[in-house]
């Protein structure tokens, strides 16, 4: 069950300049009842995307035809709250490969990386420029290059060198996941169990 590889993409971006987008907004709890990993994309941002009468909310960015792309640009502290991995699944199933923000919540970041969804943390100023660029022209494109760890605004030409743990980078570039790694370590884990260090 490897994850999809991520190397480099160029795409338009969907702007969501709201702060503290929590995982209850990304996918409300009442949609967490599946026992398989499918269909979560349909309920991505459910209560923002649809009105209480289940009609698409024309004011929500994902329902505006001018915005599209595989990059989601979110306000700071993106993914706070619940540990539900369904949030990462919903964003990924909803067609996104990258979330760019100036700050991510820890658990969300881990969950995203474990599913081939790349969280790119940039400076608040760089994020503001992304929002401005999309605001001027929704067809503006951005390039995310994982090998060189660069997020480039193709309109202004500015790029941001983002950080990523080198182990996770290798996993994404090659489509590996942690479970393969851990299962292969069985003997070391058993040895640890037999002689655990004391605190």
């Amino acid at each position: 069950m490897a994850i999809d590889k991520f190397i480099k993409i160029t795409s338009t971006a969907v702007p969501l300049p709201i702060e503290n987008v929590d995982t209850d907004q990304i996918i409300p709890a009442r949609f967490l009842k599946a026992v398989e990993r499918k269909g979560f994309g349909d309920n991505l941002f459910r209560d923002w995307r649809y009105t209480s009468g289940n009609k698409p909310n024309p004011d929500f960015v994902m329902n505006k035809p001018e915005y599209s792309g595989t990059i989601l640009a979110g306000g700071k502290n993106f993914g706070s709250g619940s540990s539900r991995e369904h949030a990462a699944w919903a964003i990924y199933d909803g067609g996104f490969k990258v979330v760019v923000s100036s700050f991510f919540a820890d658990i969300f970041k881990n969950n995203a990386l474990n599913n081939g969804l790349l969280p790119v943390q940039v400076s608040p100023e760089f994020l503001e420029e992304i929002f401005e660029t999309i605001g001027k022209d929704p067809k503006s494109t951005f390039t995310v290059d994982l090998v060189n760890q660069k997020f480039t605004n193709n309109v202004t030409g500015n790029s941001y060198d983002f950080e990523i743990n080198q182990y996770k980078k290798e996993c994404l570039l090659n489509g590996y996941d942690d479970i393969d790694y851990l299962v292969a370590m069985k003997e070391e884990i058993e040895a640890f169990e037999n002689h655990p260090p004391t605190p």
């Binding site: 300049p17 709201i18 702060e19 503290n20 907004q25 709890a29 539900r84 919540a105 743990n165 370590m185």
Partner: protein, 460 residues
């Protein structure tokens, strides 16, 4: 010189991956019905068995109804998830506490109750409020479903080591100030992202003065300031709480464990990446007015104004108040309340029920208020009855429901209707958290009791 967190974490590192995360050994794993099915499916697809089934304990809590638990669960999807957990546990030899059984309850309530939660352990669960168990001097934190699968497959996860933060609260707490007020105060001070990337140790005389239940409430909500987890060094109160519980060490094992547990504290002069110190005397009964747990104020104060904010900060603040139907600068005192919820992994323990019952004793529930009182576990429910608290509650017009997460996240039928105000002892006031359109005001069990009686936001 090491911090408490370092001591426990370092003793559980099986391997340090070069330029990568640590492979961390997990002593105790809790699972529930929502974040585990896809992990079991993953195991199946890889042809793997659960590596150490005796180190995992399961309970269905998120989805379950809080009335008529002896009947089949009406909601098909919920029923399916609960059934799936049961069959997965059976297949893999994992202890499962089904509805209505003695050990059933909210996962973070039953762990400590059964003595599964012990000082010095690493504890994880596919639930962000796993931080609760840190109250015992354990390194406990929430994980995603991929990580649940890792623990099932290998009893390990891969985690970068977080930074360390210490929050010290010294001094004496004012009357009517509870553990919940402390943590709401802290989150309001450092914001919902102030703890991100860090593991918090709570210290100081005000923290020491708390009961184990109170300490659990504080650690429970450390995730709400973004922290990976929170913890408190174990002391005599901790040992006393653990002693004699079902899975606590016994006899000679107890003495050995106790000797180790007594070493669990931060060394004098150990370095923290960040430190905060607060004065207990500055803390008053708190309530939230917005849509994240950092939007909390002293109940006696007015809702803040957006004057100093700019750009997205201002827009987010205004969006939040609009959702809540509240205005900048107005008092929160006197606002009408429609629902009261006592329960959840934050405040669903016996002490919370005692507090609530003692306050409403001899008073009456306000007629405009719907109250849901949901014990955190079957054991809590039993104790409530043993202590006669159920009678006090009944006389005041309240009824007790059955254990579960209930209206904290409204996955079950306990949903607050759109536009209604709920004073809730839970942990999150996000938009729609307690039901689509529901408006949540987070507060302590004591404040909830006071509001239940008056039907408006008030001080106890």
């Amino acid at each position: 010189m090491k911090t408490l967190f370092d001591k426990i974490w370092d003793a559980h590192v099986v391997k340090q991956v070069e330029d990568g995360p640590d492979v961390l050994y997990i002593d105790r794993h809790f699972i529930h019905e929502v974040t585990s099915p896809v992990a079991f499916l993953g195991l199946k697809n890889r042809g793997l068995k659960v590596f150490r089934p005796e180190q995992t304990t399961a309970t269905p809590d998120h989805n379950v109804p809080t009335t008529n638990q002896h009947l089949t669960i009406a909601d098909e999807l919920s029923r399916n998830q609960v059934e799936k957990l049961k069959t997965n546990c059976k297949e893999h030899g994992i202890t499962f506490h089904g509805l209505g059984t003695e050990g059933h309850g909210v996962v973070h309530i039953i762990g400590p109750e059964q003595g599964l939660t012990q000082p010095g352990m690493t504890i994880v669960c596919g639930d962000s409020h796993t931080s609760t168990h840190g109250a015992f001097g354990a390194v406990a934190f929430g994980i995603g479903t991929s990580e649940v699968e890792m623990v099932l497959a290998s009893q390990c996860i891969m985690q970068p080591k977080p930074k360390k933060m210490r929050i010290t609260i010294n001094g004496e707490l004012k009357p009517n100030v509870m553990a919940k007020d402390i943590i709401l105060y802290v989150i309001a001070k450092i914001s919902t992202s102030g703890g991100t990337g860090h593991f918090i140790e709570f210290a100081g005389s005000a923290i020491r003065s708390l009961s184990m239940e109170g300490r659990m409430t504080v650690c429970n909500m450390s995730i709400e300031c973004g922290a990976r987890g929170g913890m408190i060094a174990p002391d005599e109160k901790t040992f006393e709480y653990v002693k004699g519980r079902e899975f606590a060490p016994k006899g000679e094992d107890w003495n050995k464990a106790l000797a180790e547990w007594k070493k669990l504290k931060s060394d004098e002069g150990a370095a923290f990446d960040k430190e905060y110190t607060f004065d207990a005397a500055d803390i008053e009964p708190m309530i939230t007015y917005g849509t994240n747990p950092g939007m909390g104020i002293k109940i006696s104060k007015n809702i803040p104004v957006s004057d100093g904010l700019i750009g997205n900060d201002k827009a987010s603040f205004q969006k939040s108040l609009k959702y809540m139907g509240l205005s900048e600068g107005e008092p929160i005192l006197g606002k009408p309340v429609d629902y009261i919820f006592l329960g959840s992994c934050t405040n669903g323990r016996i002490e919370d029920f005692r507090t609530f019952a003692n306050y409403v004793k001899g008073k009456k529930k306000a007629e405009n208020v719907v109250a849901w009182l949901v014990p955190g576990s079957v054991a809590v429910e039993k104790q409530v009855r043993e202590e006669g608290l159920d009678k006090i509650l009944e006389e005041a017009g309240f009824e007790l429901r059955q254990p579960g997460c209930s209206a904290c996240l409204a996955m079950n039928p306990d949903k607050v209707p759109a536009g209604k105000y709920a004073v809730s002892t839970t942990n999150r006031n996000f938009e729609g958290r307690q039901g689509p359109g529901a408006r949540t005001l987070l507060a302590s069990p004591l404040v909830a009791a006071a509001c239940a009686v008056t039907g408006i936001v008030c001080l106890p």
